[in-house]
Symmetry: C2
Subunit: 224 residues, 2 copies
């Protein structure tokens, strides 16, 4: 008699939480701020991160891990920023787990980094419950996806700290219902900060970097 | 000691296959042709299906089931076609299962239908391994998602019968790399038929309906 799926899942999540806690302790001890990104496939995580890395690299020591079921495509794209990047290939697994992050870090000296980015597998469901030891989790939503996605996938919005609307340059072409999207985010995660960005035009990149630098400063002054 | 996740998953898939087989027998006995749709969230399954239902309704008895973790939004949109539609709310489950389809069919008299559509939860991973008893599985890929999605999510393309590129009206605006997308599909599923469509302009709808009617005709003549 096999136990219920739920029991196995609970055990896996508990194990993950334990590894995530130990990762977060390592990150804190090394003084590295860790930001993860989740979204559906094709929402623009890699483009957003590539822009972010390119700008930040001039002032901070940054690196990135990126997860996908297959291919090294995203690591190659992100590496164009000049930052150190490693791909995590998950095979059939639709999310990153803390242990995968732990393994991928390998010989990287965390104390030599200021900010580490972790781009999760493109999926609006699976990554929700897996803590990766990050300090800030971004959920991205592209204007091309439709404004009701937060209502359809509430958990992923609920477990994130900041929402980023991407591809704002396409908003008019796709008749993006901005008020509906903002209302949907507000209804599943009241008070959540929402940024509107375009990796193509770089619109909205400055407010995002300002938030990130504020978090870094708070951290250094011991407020956070 | 808990068994490995894989064991539990294997058992669940076996159970699903059994229910799917019995569903397919029911569909065949009733003479209803069943088409399922999978894609990432926001690729345009609902828009594509709404157009399809609206046109087909004039000549065929059609109905649809649609899955989402939360909301009845898609059922409401599809119902605008005038066809009977039922929403399946999966809660935290990132795919439809044959048993969910079985339950949702409820009192519908299958012998009074020609075509039943099943729109899966928006996800490029989870639905891959779940047979729903369908005769034809479509995988949709929008021009806004990026051309390498088939390489990153090979299993979902491998388990589908027909690929549909959606939002072709946005191809130029998003600099869609059409040759790369076609090559990616060909590499994970050699010989797969690919349709290019826009629910907005209705481009590509006629070839899709022609394929569907051909399949229906084959079926009636006992070829398929």
């Amino acid at each position: 008699m096999l136990p219920r799926m739920l029991d196995v899942r609970t055990k896996i999540l508990k194990d993950n939480d334990r590894v995530a806690r130990s990762l977060r302790e390592r990150f804190d001890a090394a003084g590295v701020f860790v930001v993860s990104l989740v979204s559906s496939p094709g929402a623009g995580k890699t483009a957003f991160l590539q822009k972010t890395l390119t700008v930040l690299r001039e002032r901070y020591r940054v690196a990135a891990l990126v997860g996908d079921l297959a291919t090294e495509n995203d690591a190659n794209r992100l590496a164009q920023s000049g930052a150190p990047v490693r791909q995590i290939v998950t095979g059939t697994v639709c999310h990153l787990e803390a242990a995968m992050v732990d393994t991928a870090l390998g010989d990287w000296r965390l104390e030599e980094l200021d900010i580490l980015f972790i781009e999760n597998v493109g999926n609006l469901v699976c990554p929700s419950s897996y803590d990766l030891g990050e300090h800030l989790r971004l959920v991205l939503l592209s204007t091309t996806e439709g404004a009701d996605k937060p209502l359809k996938y509430p958990t992923i919005f609920n477990t994130a700290d900041l929402a980023v609307i991407t591809k704002s340059d396409l908003a008019v072409a796709v008749e993006f219902d901005r008020p509906a999207a903002l209302a949907a985010i507000e209804s599943v995660r009241p008070g959540m900060t929402v940024l509107e960005t375009s990796a193509k035009s770089a619109d909205g990149l400055a407010p995002w970097l300002a938030i990130l630098e504020e978090r870094l400063a708070e951290r250094e002054s011991g407020v956070a």
